[in-house]
């Protein structure tokens, strides 16, 4: 318990330090949008931009929305005719490679020059492609809120609020079905469990992996722990996955996500079948690798908290496999892990996956809770 306390205090201090960092200065971004700006005055959330002679040249407002790794902030400038003069991102916590991908699509350049009534908030419709849904959603939401702010304050126009409805589709249905099937199969045991596990994992590989590219990652967990909650309307599946992971580990005493749902675990098992060797490392090597994994996970979360950049914690190679994008480290890890999977049983799950460390914490918390709660002593089931 002492080690948990030390880790908890260290992470809490790192997060507190990260949260105390100063808010970004918007003036440089506003000056890039309005190169003739001489002075900038803030009133009721809207910046009035004046030239050297004190004449108004436009207005600017900040928009903010949660993306993949946390809040994404941008500044939108609107000129005196009500046209968007420019858009500048002032701060974001997205995975750099995804942000570059979204930014290179030139959405802001397409939006610039539009009348504020006619700004196109459908990212895909404007740029034709997307591969980073949460980042592009955050850009659109923050753009919309900034434009609405200027329209309301300076033009006395209330822009219609975006339609809000839960996105409940194939992905959400599959996630719920996989958890239900996993719990049922785990209770059933025997060959049923084996076959259902294969069916669930292959479904997860296809739908959660290759189709939606949205397995649970350390960056998403760190983002939640940092207090950045992605929009629940468009991220129901993400919440289902997180709640399923926590609830089944705490109450069911089995991590159903890793056993039945995780697409990367399925990929390793498939490669393992092709390799057909299934070697097991010695217990000593296993212990060393597991300890190393805990240290890596702690370091990744610590770095993400202290810099308040949850995406920094993302060292998993999921994006490289499922979205064919990622850093050099992630591509290298993907190669090593899947090649190793030919001879060693699910090496990522055993020795590298951060969820395993989190699962151990959850299981210990669950055991502690069962010991503390009256009538729920550990081992009372038998």
């Amino acid at each position: 318990m002492a080690i948990y306390l030390v880790v908890f205090v260290a992470l809490a201090m790192a997060l507190a330090y990260g949260k105390t960092r100063a808010a970004p200065d918007l003036d440089p971004a506003i000056e890039r949008i309005f190169p003739t700006a001489g002075s900038i005055e803030l009133s009721r959330g809207v910046y009035s931009v004046l030239d050297e002679g004190g004449e108004p040249v436009g207005w600017a407002a900040m928009g903010k929305a949660n993306g993949y790794g946390g809040p994404l902030m941008l500044v939108v400038g609107v000129d005196l005719e009500g046209e968007v003069a420019g858009v500048e991102v002032v701060e974001h916590r997205e995975t750099p490679i995804f942000f570059r991908m979204v930014r290179s699509a030139a959405y802001f350049e397409e939006v610039a020059g539009s009348d504020f009534h006619e700004v196109e908030y459908d990212y895909e419709a404007v740029v034709g492609v997307t591969g980073a849904t949460r980042t592009s959603d955050a850009i659109v939401a923050s753009l919309r809120s900034a434009v609405a702010e200027v329209a309301d304050d300076q033009f006395d126009v209330r822009l219609p609020a975006p339609p809000r409805s839960f996105e409940f589709g194939l992905l959400e249905i599959v996630v719920l079905a996989l958890f239900a099937a996993g719990i049922a199969a785990h209770r059933a045991g025997g060959s049923v469990r084996r076959w259902v596990r294969w069916a669930c994992q292959l479904t997860g590989l296809m739908i959660i992996g290759f189709w939606a590219a949205s397995p649970i990652s350390l960056a998403k967990i760190t983002s939640l722990l940092s207090g950045y909650f992605p929009d629940i309307y468009s991220n129901l599946a993400f919440y289902f996955l997180i709640i399923g992971l926590v609830i089944t580990t705490l109450l069911h005493r089995r991590n159903i996500y890793c056993l039945y749902v995780c697409p990367f675990g399925a990929a390793q098992r498939c490669v393992g079948v092709i390799g057909g060797m299934n070697l097991k490392l010695s217990a000593r090597v296993g212990r060393v690798l597991e300890s190393s994994r805990n240290v890596v996970v702690f370091a990744a979360i610590f770095a993400a908290f202290i810099t308040l950049q949850p995406a920094l914690a993302s060292y998993e190679p999921f994006a490289a496999l499922f979205a064919l994008t990622g850093s050099t480290l992630q591509w290298g890890l993907l190669f090593i892990v899947l090649t190793l999977s030919l001879v060693v049983r699910t090496p990522w799950c055993g020795f590298l996956c951060p969820l395993r460390s989190i699962e151990i914490v959850l299981r210990n918390v669950g055991a502690w809770g069962r010991g503390v709660l009256p009538g729920r002593k550990e081992g009372a089931r038998g």
Binding site: I274, G275, L324, W331, G332, L334, F335, L338, T339
Partner: protein, 98 residues
């Protein structure tokens, strides 16, 4: 990389390629491993895949696209390695009991 443009290199490469195939055939016969047409076809497909991987890395490097060479090499290399292991196990099927 002038050597890759020389006829001599490709002449030697062709000889080595044929030697590898002939050697593999002899090795398989020695162990009683049947080599029907579908195994040869699969082997040739895998060789095409491996050749494509090497060509991808080589041409990317030639175009000074080091990142593309590395990432493409890792991805196609991974597919080649996994397919190679699977193919190897397939090739060994039907071996005569000693």
């Amino acid at each position: 990389m002038q050597i890759f443009n020389s006829g001599f290199f490709w002449f030697v490469e062709g000889i080595l390629f044929c030697l590898v195939l002939v050697g593999f055939r002899a090795w398989a016969q020695g162990r009683g491993i049947p080599l029907p047409a579908w195994k040869w076809a699969t082997l040739l497909l895998w060789m095409l895949l491996a050749g494509f991987t090497i060509a991808f890395v080589g041409t990317s490097l030639g175009e000074n696209e080091a990142t593309a060479a590395m990432r493409g090499g890792l991805l196609f290399g991974l597919i080649t390695v996994i397919a190679g292991v699977g193919l190897w196990r397939l090739l060994l099927t039907g071996a005569r009991e000693a």
